[in-house]
Structures are given as C-alpha cells and as structure tokens.
C-alpha cells in the first residue's frame, strides 16, 4: 500500500513543507577532559620554554618562581571560574566591556592580541629549538661532524608551522579537541617517565642541591630599574621582578574562557573539573618539570639547555645514552606537538577574540569578510598570521628575544579582566554567579571580594613592575597596542552606523541552513535513541525551552527544536503575519540558551499551514516521547493542548506521547 493512502486528510493537506535543518559550529559540546586538553595545549606548552627564559633573566633561582606562578595560576583559574559563571561567551572582551566599558575592553583585547601574535612565534621557535637540539644530539652521538644552525632552523620551522596552520584555519579546522586530548595524554605519559627516571637519578646521585631563592637579575632583566637605585635595594622588588619574568608561564589561560562556551552540561561543574586538571598540570608539568630540570641538569650545564630545557633534563638523566636519546626524542615529539598546537590555538584564539570584537560592530566589513568557499573570517586569519611571520623573522630565531617582549599582553589582559571581575561584584551585585572567587566578607546584601581584590592587586603589581623592567615588552607592547587600538577606533568610526544596528539587534549566530526533502532526512543522524521535541515561536518566550535544558537530567536524549514557519494558508487561528517571526533571531536565542547550558540541540524549521500538525508530524517522525510547548499569550494552555491532542490523533500510526505546556510557575501535562 502506498504510505500516502494511510494518511488522513489532516496529514495530506497539512503536510510540512520545506524542511530546513539549522546547524552552527556552536552546537557541539565537549567533555571537561577535552576542554582541559585544549587549554593545556596552549597553557601547558609554556613549560617547554618558560624555565629557559626565566633562567636567562634572573639566573638559577628560576625554578622557585616558575613553581610560584604555577601555584598562582590556581587563583587566576578561580577568577576565570567566576567570570565564566557570569558570561557563557566569556573572555577578556565581554568581561572588560561589562566591567570597565568598551574602550577599556578594546585596550585589553589589543594587549591580548599582542600576546597571541607572539605566542605563535615563541611556540614555533621553541618547537624548532627542541627539534634541532635532538638532531644535533643525534649527530653528535653518531659522531657525524655536522651541525645545523639552531636559530636559522628554528626560524624556518616556526614559519612553516604558522603557514601550515594559516592554511588549516582558512579552510576551517574541524573539531580538534580529540587531537589535543591525545597530545596531552602523551605528554602526561612522558611527564610520568621523566618524574620516575629523575627520582631514580637523584636517588643514585645521593645529593640534591636546591636552587637559590634569591634571583640574580641581569642588567637587561632590570630594565629601567637600573636607573632607580633605591628599587634595587629592596629585596621584595627583586622577587617581584623575577616573578614578572616568570609570568609568561601563565600564557594561554585565556583559552579557558574561549573554550567555556563549548563545555558540555552541567557546564559550571565541568568547568571546575577542567580548572582543577589545568591547575594540577600547571604545578606538576610546568612547575615540577622545571624544578626537576634544574636539579638534574645542574647549574653548570643549564646555559647549554636554556632553549630546550626538557631535552636537557632527558639527556642529563642517569642511564644508557641510547635510552636517553629515545626519551629526548619522545620529549621533542610531545613538546613539538604541544607547541605546534599552541601555534594553532594562538591563531584560533586571536581569530575568536577578533570575532568577539567584530560582534560588537567595531571592526569594518573588510575584517569580517567570509571566505567564499570555506566560510571562515579569512581576513582576520591572514592578518594574525602575517603578524606572527613578521615577529618570527624579526626575532631571527631567538626565543629569548620574544620572551623579552612576551607576557606584556598576558599581564595587561589579566589586569583589565581581574579589575573588571572585582568591579562587577559591586556593579552587578544581583547577577547570578554559580561560582564566586573565595575569601569574601559578607556585608549587608553583598560580599566584599577580598580574595578577588588580592589577586587583582598581585596582577597589577606584576604588570606595573614588568612595565619598568621588561623594556622590550613595554615598548613593543605599547606600540602594538596603540596601533591596534587606533585600528579599532578608526574601524568603529567607519562602522558606527552598522555598529548601532548590531547593538540594537544583538549579535547573530552564523546559521547554516540545509534544506532536506522530508522530515525523516532531517532526523536520521541524531546521536541518541530518545527524543524530546520542543516547539519555539518567539525569541523572547523561551522559558519552556530553558526549563527542558535545565531539568532534563538524562544527557542521552536528543532535544529537537522546531519552528513551524507559517505558509500562506496558515489556519491555526491567527493571521499568518502575526505569527511569522524573524527565525534567525529566534534560532540565535535558541543556540545561545543551549550554549549557556552546554546542551546539544537539533534545530529544525519547517513550513506548514498549521503549527500543531507540524509539531505532531515532526514528533512522530522523530519518535519523540514528549512534545514541549510554551504557553501562547493569545490562546491559553488549555486551547493549545486541545489542538495538540487533535493534531496527534490525526496521525494514523501514532503511539502514546506526552505533551507539556510550560510557563513560569505552572505547567499543563497530558499523556495521550
């Protein structure tokens, strides 16, 4: 029998037409482990160069200071937890915009972009250094009288890595979290081997000489302080300067805010787990391995390995040379992957930050131009990669030179962000925070953020001291920041009219609309067996949708979100124009809310002459257990339920289904 013959007239005449599947990159979510892996590929990669740069700046005391900033990352992570609990699309730009205003946010974003322009080169050059270190060690072991120029090799290698990831990003990299997770797992295995082998080495040596606590600051590391004698006499200032030179180990924390939007349900609990993993990794991997490097390599041999300290650690262990060479190769392999991953993350992060800025209407259309074939913001990607290539060639392959300029952006973006979080405690007292930075004194109706103020003060002190000690960073950072700020300023003036429209309309998601011939095609690739259908009509009335996102504890249920676009012969009570909505705005709100909860949803738009028959047919096609609707302002819940029941009854092979109509404080539910 032809399936059409079994359909009732209700189905034949009201059969949904023009089925469109809505998709966006924002509708996939990742586990806390993968989120941590993405952050660690950037944040953790500094373990490969932070120790060496700090050693060059203030001598053998560096392990204490790298360990110190690794512990301090715990406090910064808690501050990020608080900011993410307020903004799903978090990060420096939205947080500073809310706390200190848009001008400050532009400055903070400029500082951050400066750092991202340096992260790619410093990571690429470090990877090159590790690789050339391995090649030269191997050549020496096999007594081949040939060495490659490390700086030239690193420069070419770093440029190649940037160009490779430029191409990948223009094409639009698919989900890379799986790869990041593999890299971090491999790094943890190698970290474990290094720890065990180092323990054995130290035990065999019998004596352990701890590094000195007092930093020996070079003239270069003191910067303009060499001209301020009284500051040189104060011991704590020396400590602060040393910490300032170690702070580059914190580069990449911003990635946590970028990745938060992709974190799966339950979002804040998962963010806490992510932050804990990052903290432990920072202390053990960055702090611990840097400390072990000093203990194993020893102060005499450190200068030889300042550019590839973990390779030095591997080669200085007690054991057969061939095994050490294999371990060094493993360190180089994992480090190379992690550092190259950091190049990629810096391009993705800078592109993401520029997109956040563009969303507020500041950047002109030239920046926001979408690649015709790949749909990426390729002008932004080109700009970032060109800046990174210029830095690589200007550095002439010297990691330390970039290290001198580095951390300016990290610190100043921290300053703006931490100060904003403190200000928001006073400014947005009522705003819901699922996590608060600890150490608060309750006063009247709000909490005085003692802990947050302390972190803010430390960051301000470090940024202040770096401003007068890291000359290269200050001059280059301020120059870069001002150039970028000027670009933002001119761009925002040129784009003022468009920015106002965008401000009024709010940011829109980039929606991919794929037309499919029938409902079954739209529903065939859903990940789970169970389905819930949520109908939506009004971007401002999504209480029922939020309730489903919040209350549905089973994470293995597909949430199908349906909007029935009215056809000319709309017959569900009111005229078609009255119920026709801006579906892009509607789905933007749906996606933002799904993102807030970290739950994957499957938006579908159909054209129909009847909202209820469209809902019934979609629910039937999906074999949904439940249809959830919001209450209609004009009809009332009972009328809606009546029609839903009739529409469902018109489906010949129907099964028992539950319909729910939800609105604040009440719900109507019926199983039929």
């Amino acid at each position: 029998m032809n399936p059409e013959d079994t359909q009732t007239g209700l189905q034949k005449n009201s059969k949904v037409k023009s089925v469109v599947v809505i998709s966006t990159a924002m509708l996939t979510f990742i586990t806390f482990w993968k989120a941590a892996a993405i952050v660690l590929c950037d944040f953790g990669s500094s373990a490969f160069y932070a120790g060496g740069i700090a050693y060059n700046a203030f001598g053998p005391a560096f392990p204490w200071y790298i360990l110190g900033v690794s512990f301090f990352s715990g406090l910064l992570l808690m501050m990020y937890l608080e900011s993410c609990s307020m903004f799903t699309r978090s990060g420096v730009f939205p947080v500073v915009s809310a706390g200190l205003g848009e001008k400050a946010a532009q400055l903070a974003a400029s500082a951050l972009l400066f750092d991202m322009a340096l992260t790619g080169p410093i990571s690429g050059l470090s990877a090159g250094n590790y690789l050339i270190g391995l090649i030269n060690s191997t050549l020496a072991i096999f007594k081949i009288n040939f060495t490659l120029n490390p700086e030239m090799f690193s420069m070419i290698f770093a440029a190649a890595v940037v160009i490779y990831f430029w191409y990948q990003n223009v094409k639009g990299i698919a989900d890379s979290s799986e790869k990041s997770a593999k890299i971090i797992k491999l790094s943890l295995i190698i970290c474990g081997i290094l720890f065990v082998w180092s323990g054995i080495t130290l035990a065999l040596r019998g004596t352990v000489t701890l590094p000195p606590l007092k930093p020996q600051l070079t003239q270069e590391a003191m910067g303009w302080v060499v001209n301020i004698p009284f500051m040189q006499k104060v011991g704590y200032i020396g400590v602060l300067i040393a910490l300032g030179h170690s702070v580059l180990a914190l580069s990449g924390l911003e990635t946590l805010a970028q990745v938060f939007r992709e974190l799966e349900y339950p979002k804040i609990q998962n963010l806490k787990k992510t932050a804990l993993i990052i903290f432990v990794f920072a202390v053990v991997f960055t702090g611990g391995l840097t400390f072990l490097s000093y203990l194993i390599i020893g102060p005499k041999n450190l200068p030889q390995y300042s550019d590839n300290m973990l390779s030095g650690l591997a080669m200085s262990l007690t054991g057969p040379t061939i095994l050490k060479l294999i371990l060094q190769a493993a360190v180089v392999f994992a480090g190379g992957l992690m550092l190259c991953g950091a190049v990629n993350t810096s391009i993705i992060g800078a592109n993401g930050t520029m997109n956040r800025i563009a969303e507020s209407g500041i950047l002109t259309d030239w920046f926001r131009k979408i690649h015709k074939k790949y749909g990426t913001t390729y002008h932004m990607i080109n700009t970032i990669c060109i800046a990174q290539l210029i830095v690589i060639f200007l550095s002439r392959g010297k990691v330390y030179l970039i290290g001198q300029a580095y951390a300016f952006g990290v610190l100043w973006s921290f300053v703006f962000e931490m100060v904003s979080i403190v200000i928001l405690r006073f400014k947005n007292r009522e705003q819901k925070r699922e996590f608060m930075m600890p150490f608060n004194i309750k006063f009247d109706h709000f909490y005085i953020p003692v802990g947050a103020i302390f972190v803010g003060l430390v960051v301000v002190a470090l940024a202040g001291i770096n401003l007068i000690t890291k000359k290269v960073a200050t001059i280059s950072g301020v120059s870069f920041g001002l150039v970028l700020y000027t670009i933002f300023y001119i761009s925002s003036r040129l784009n003022a009219k468009k920015a106002n429209i965008m401000f009024e309309e709010g940011p829109r998601e980039k929606l991919n609309e794929t037309q499919v011939p029938e409902l079954s095609k739209a529903l065939e690739n859903l990940p789970y067996k169970e389905n819930v259908l949520v109908t939506v009509k009004d971007a401002n009335k999504l209480y029922h949708f939020e309730k489903v996102l919040a209350d549905l504890k089973d994470t293995e249920v597909n949430i199908i979100v349906l909007y029935a676009r009215p056809l000319e012969n709309w017959n569900a009570g009111k005229n078609r124009e009255a119920v026709s909505v801006d579906y892009k705005e509607l789905f933007t709100q749906v996606i933002l809310k799904a993102e807030n909860f970290g739950r994957q949803v499957h938006p579908i738009m159909v054209s129909s002459n009847n909202f209820f028959t469209a809902a019934a047919q979609t629910a039937f096609a999906a074999k949904a257990e439940k249809i959830v609707m919001g209450v209609s302002g004009t009809h009332g819940a009972n009328e809606q339920m009546e029609y839903m029941v009739m529409a469902w009854a018109a489906i010949p092979e129907r099964y028992q289904i539950t319909a729910e109509i939800l609105w604040p404080g009440r719900e109507v539910s019926f199983k039929f």
Binding site: G9, S14, H635, M646, A649, F672
Partner: protein, 147 residues
C-alpha cells in the same frame, strides 16, 4: 437531556442539506444540546465562538469541533451535523461534519475532554466523512457512527 457524547442517538444528529454559515450551524446545534437544560443558549453561543476565535477547531479533514467548557454542567453534551455539500469556515477550510459538544468546566473533566477531542479527530477521517456525506437519513448516520 444529558448524554454521553459517545452514545449519540438520532435526536442529536442533523443532516443539513441547505447550509447557511458556520455561525448559523453552531447556533442550530447549540439549540439541540441545550434543549431540556437550564443552559442559556446565548451564553453557550458566546462561549463556543470565543473558543473558535482562539485556535480554530476546524481540521482540514473536513471536521469541525466547536466546543466549550461550561459551568453548571455535570456531564458532556453533544450534537452532530452532517453537511454533504460542505460550508467554508473563516479560514477557507471545508466543513462537512460539525460535532459540537459542551463539557463540564471542572478540571477533573479536562482529561476526558481532551480524550474526546482525540477520539473525534481519530474517527472522522476524510474517508469516513465522505461515507457519512453519502447517507440520506439521520438513522443511517446513527447506525454508521461508531458511538
């Protein structure tokens, strides 16, 4: 006369051969359901039409189910009209069967009210409506109805 709407007898069935408008037909059926009750026909008409102004109860199968939940009722009441020629409703849909019913307003009756709506939508398929339209007397229609 109180009835179980699923036990329709010939007194509750009308065969309309010269239909006028949907409103007139609703009024006609209200007269039928209100007969022998204390219900005010004007109030019932207002309640039914108010419900119709919300989401139309006409399905595009050709079935129209005007209804209202009324205070003072303790059981369901119903009347049915078959209109072989059909009439157009406000949205241009063809009505060939109009099943008007009133249900008690108490919340405890609402599930039954919904079940009745579902039963009607399920029963009156286009084929069944077409078969009813071909019958010549209310007795034949009563015999054909499954309730």
């Amino acid at each position: 006369m109180e009835i179980n709407p699923l036990k329709i007898n010939s007194q509750q069935i009308s065969l309309i051969t010269n239909p006028s408008t949907k409103q007139e037909l609703v009024k006609y059926l209200i007269t039928n359901v209100c007969s022998g009750t204390v219900l005010n026909q004007e109030e019932v008409f207002k309640a039914v039409m108010k419900r119709e102004q919300g989401i139309s109860t006409t399905l595009d199968t050709g079935l129209s189910i005007p209804h209202a939940r009324m205070d003072g009722l303790t059981a369901f009441r119903a009347a049915i009209a078959i209109i072989p020629q059909g009439i157009k409703d406000d949205f241009g849909l063809q009505i060939k069967v109009m099943f008007l019913f009133l249900s008690p307003s108490g919340e405890q009756f609402f599930p039954e009210h919904l079940k009745l709506l579902a039963k009607l939508a399920e029963t009156f398929t286009p084929q069944f409506i077409e078969e009813l339209s071909k019958l010549k007397t209310v007795e034949e229609i009563a015999a054909k109805l499954p309730f």
